[in-house]
Symmetry: D2
Subunit: 389 residues, 4 copies
């Protein structure tokens, strides 16, 4: 079934590409792309087969994401957030659930969320906050128990897909004990959610990563895992969803840049220029290598998630994809020349989109630091001055 997903992604990419310029220009959410994704059943990609989904591995996700990103990186980036939520939820198997003390009713609630995804719902992530960034340990959004559930109050930023998703994964700290950070799946319906349209970015403009203000009460079973305080545990266990899932998107963006440059240059009969050929050749090799690194990281995530060596591959993938995308897109613009800098030209957009990869957490500079610590025999979890999450 996942081969079908990959084929669907390949089929959809040109449609996304055809719409990408418009969404980029206007900063609008790619509603039609998401209708396509729903129709193709891709919201169930990470949902276990027994819950109606495709049961894709992380490696399969990565392949799908790269294909989607060849069409529109922004669409792939929002899809990535949904895949992260469903992927992390789906990865909590019985053993892990037992180890974490997850009660049965929480598993049932989890199953319901996943089933809904398989049937066409999709979820966004509302984790980052101004000041705290993506570090869970520094959030200011609070929750407290109330009759019939939990009350959440706070403001989130960089919430990709805000206003379009069917639900939001929200991280918050306990009002009673600030050291306890939990995650909730907040339904998009009902009052108490307000999207403030703050997203107006250089690149990845179509993600609608607006601010989300919450003052909302959710049913008790919307506490993910059913017990408080699991957020940091999950972050430690599944760093790939917080770091590596971006990487696949940016190799797709980089590949799209090479292809756009080739098309542009061929159309102008400039393929014979040695400087152009050298640029495309080196870009091609760089994208190929970064893509392999993403695939390798993903393969290891499936085999041994959270292992030290797996995490190194995750950071390598993130670092290589981010830097490669930015460098390749910059070089492709230079190969193609001024006529490719006109708004609406794919390379013009890709140059802006590609610069964003290194900036997502963990940034390229942070990945380099962690990889350096590991190469020197240290442990990035212990050898850095600041907490990772």
């Amino acid at each position: 079934m996942t081969q079908q997903a990959l084929e669907a992604a390949r089929r959809l990419a040109p449609r996304f590409a055809a719409r990408a310029a418009g969404h980029d220009r206007d900063g609008t959410f790619p509603v039609a792309d998401f209708a396509d994704l729903r129709e193709a059943g891709l919201f169930g990609l990470m949902v276990p087969v027994e819950l109606g989904g495709s049961g894709a591995t992380f490696a399969e996700y990565a392949a799908v994401a790269a294909e989607l990103a060849r069409g529109n990186g922004a669409t792939a980036l929002v899809f990535n957030m949904h895949a992260s939520v469903t992927g992390a939820l789906g990865a909590v198997d019985e053993d892990l659930a037992e180890a974490l003390g997850v009660p049965d009713e929480a598993l049932a609630a989890r199953d319901a969320l996943l089933r809904a995804a398989a049937e066409g719902a999709w979820y966004a992530v509302a984790m980052s906050e101004r000041g705290a960034g993506a570090r869970l340990s520094q959030l200011s959004t609070e929750y407290q128990p109330v009759d019939g559930g939990w009350q959440l109050k706070g403001s989130k930023t960089f919430c990709s897909g805000a206003g379009h998703a069917d639900g939001y994964l929200v991280a918050a700290r306990s009002a009673a004990d600030p050291s306890v950070v939990s995650q909730f799946l907040v339904p998009a319906t009902g009052d108490g959610l307000r999207v403030e349209p703050t997203w107006d970015s250089m690149g990845m403009r179509a993600t609608s990563s607006h601010d989300l203000h919450l003052d909302v009460t959710v049913p008790a079973d919307r506490l993910l895992g059913g017990v408080e305080g699991l957020a940091l545990v999950i972050a430690q266990l599944m760093p790939h969803w917080l770091v590596a899932s971006y990487a696949a998107v940016y190799t797709g963006v980089a590949r799209a840049a090479v292809e756009a440059a080739a098309a542009h240059l061929n159309a102008r009969d400039l393929a014979g220029l040695p400087a152009v050929r050298a640029r495309l050749g080196r870009a091609d090799a760089a994208v190929a290598a970064a893509s392999l690194a993403v695939a390798e990281a993903a393969r290891r995530v499936d085999e041994a998630p959270g292992d030290a060596e797996t995490n190194r591959w995750v950071w390598r993938a993130k670092l290589l994809a981010g830097t490669t995308a930015a460098e390749v897109a910059a070089s492709m613009v230079e190969a193609a020349g001024t006529s490719a800098t006109r708004r609406g030209h794919p390379l013009e957009r890709l140059y802006r989109d590609a610069r964003c990869g290194s900036l997502h957490p963990a940034t390229s500079d942070v990945c380099a630091d962690w990889l350096g610590i590991a190469a020197l025999g240290g442990d990035p979890d212990r050898d850095t001055a600041t907490p990772r999450w």
Copy 2:
């Protein structure tokens, strides 16, 4: 008097910077910047003192341009075209005029154009054409003699300041003899000029480098130099105005990027991060070196314009400024992080503006090729397959 010009540029730069985001957003021409330039007398910068101007050297121009570009690269780029026109006109001294066979009435006409500039007129350049690029030898715009002057017909592209300048330097080939390329200064007033608003670019959005369609008759004395066929001669004699004058603009853009990153990081108290410091330190050194190269090229242009060694410096300056600006801006965005990619943030604009420098003719790749030929003892005028202009 030129020290005054430099001080004026420094004084104006922050005002340009304050307006830059708006013009970038809307793609509008920086009308107020140009009113400021007029008021500060900077349109007379390259006009000989005896004609009412500042009589600036090329080196003085370069210093002024870099300062203006710290405010708004687009403004500086349009100003650069005016400086090129007045600078090239002003550089035709009596000896050169005699050597080229320039008649006295043509010198008088030239003087009138320069006097007008000193009094507040400014000129744009309409040279490039679709298909021909900036190569004079491949233009399709034609002219022919008619009663009372010359008739010009054709279409130009990338005409920075189109619709706002007081006159246009137009290159065209003779309908009678296509090998003869001449230049005219076409007044903006009167019929026959039509601006087609095609400019909607990734960077340098405020230059209004629209298409200009000409079907116009100009008085006889608007043939620059008074004799036909001087365009290529002038291009050979003064390649700095065609190549190096861009360079100063991009060192200003690069410097602005470093300053914007420093301000952004200090405001967020992130100046202590080692990775940030390494990025800013290397960027600072790169900008400083490129700025020196531009200054050196400019100094040599003043001393020995058109000499082989001067031209090498011109290409070095163009190559270094273009590549440095793009690399520095990309690194500064990475140092500053996602919050600097919001539209309206200076770094967001500078990242796009900075990518354009390598693309102006002669491109970085072309400059590298010419410099390589020269380093190998060859002559780029003879050793390349395609004509330079």
Copy 3:
């Protein structure tokens, strides 16, 4: 059995490393390393199982070569030549033999050469010539039929292992028809072979890649394939042995450089410096990516040797391994500091060894050109001015 080979390589690498400094210093051939290789049975790595060898795939070869290179790049480079000879000979299966018109007695002779390798013989390659480089089409060494075999006369350069191998693969052109290029396996015994000790190189000093002068008669069955003119066909069919087999060596060299830097820095308690960590982290990621590219190219060589897409991966691997090794080694020296530049320090040697990878044919610049042509939809076999071999 090939897992054994990989384990043997891992076991031998530290022994090679311990001897590497001495051979590098004196430019001597690593005789003891080759005794170790013989004893471990690694000369039979590429020999089909039915002829007594390990029957390794190209991917398995690449993994072994990278491990050996972590010990001593020079040893791995000479081993690579032997693997090329035995690998190419072993790859001629019955179908290919029939297609090429290889007579049965030639297959028998081939089998004998391979059996000998499995029993401990090893072969060097004498292909390059001054002036012609590695291009088969431009060789000047000639052969002609004589009673009882073939007479070969000419001079070869860059013959790694000259004076130590048991036989030499020699490419030569027919005296009767210069367009016919054939290959012979010349035994090291007997007169007519003279090694001129010309090899005194910056890096990879222990390869003994001296000049080899031939004036020798070999038995009839030493014409590889048994029919004349197969050399170019084989080169076209198996470009991986001419290009990609180097790549694995240089990823091993690059990895050794990262490890040597880490050991050096830890010993001096400098692992905490942020600049050091950033260098090691980025180097680690680059080496990991290049290694994946080599493995992917090798995997495809096994699956579809000579296919257009396989060849692209071969060029990518060659380009990435060569450039990565040089850049990584340079950065590791900078991370480790002056104390690592002392002769005898592993990094001092690795910095010199690593620079050689991009220079082996096809050079990095040539690979970039071919990849660029392919990325632009062209065919490097047709779209380059000069013949590839």
Copy 4:
């Protein structure tokens, strides 16, 4: 007179170049080069005119050093140490002497040392120590007052020219008060100095930067400045001699690499290859820019030594020269190909020599950090964790 010095350097450079391969091969000191330098009067370059020298500025020194380095970087590097000693001594004018409390007899002793240099003596620097590097604050060599002078005891490393100089500038700490660091000019004659031939380096092999063991008593007037504790003061006042003087050497090395590559490629008729031209063109521009940065730093050192802005230029020059030399030499080897990696080929040596520039203190990474602090508005003297000297 300094124009004469520059011309002398240009005249000597080819002679140095002719000898460079031999000294590099054998690791021998360029005795004949130093005889040439003496004969040309260049040991008096930095000696004030009134003391018989050329009275060169720092900028003039930098120009001379770059020329010498085009011949042999190692010779230029040793010469640089002598220039540092004489330059720093000569820079102590009456005002500074008074401010520092330098007694008259110390000035007289200083004059004698400078006069001797003008007459043909040259001095080496014995500052670095194992463990302490070049940081004055961490030295272990001690001195104490004894009858008739000072007794010094300790071991120095990286003492370029050890065994060949006429005297050594030795930094040591007071046995009585370890916070007091002073400098002595120790004559080469007499007992108590022992050269341990430890220098056997990847690059700059001819500098004879051996270890120097001291157990020696020097006359009272060999305490430089005549009062104890001036060493750190001088380091703060004249950081250019500790940092920037290396930079000029490496621009000369880089320029030599470009020239050697051009000569090599022209001799093989390979100047027409586009990839080669691109490499030489970019290298040419990079070297030109780094050379300008060195000249600018030197100019400012003359104008305002020790000023904050001067120091920034000094770090820029050091950073740019070091990184440019290494990158340019690596690219030139790649442009020239395997035949240029033969020992004895200029590029083979230059590739090794060029890598050393970034490693001299302050290293490129340290310069980048300091420049970053300054670009962020900080003060590298206060904002780094470790003392600068």
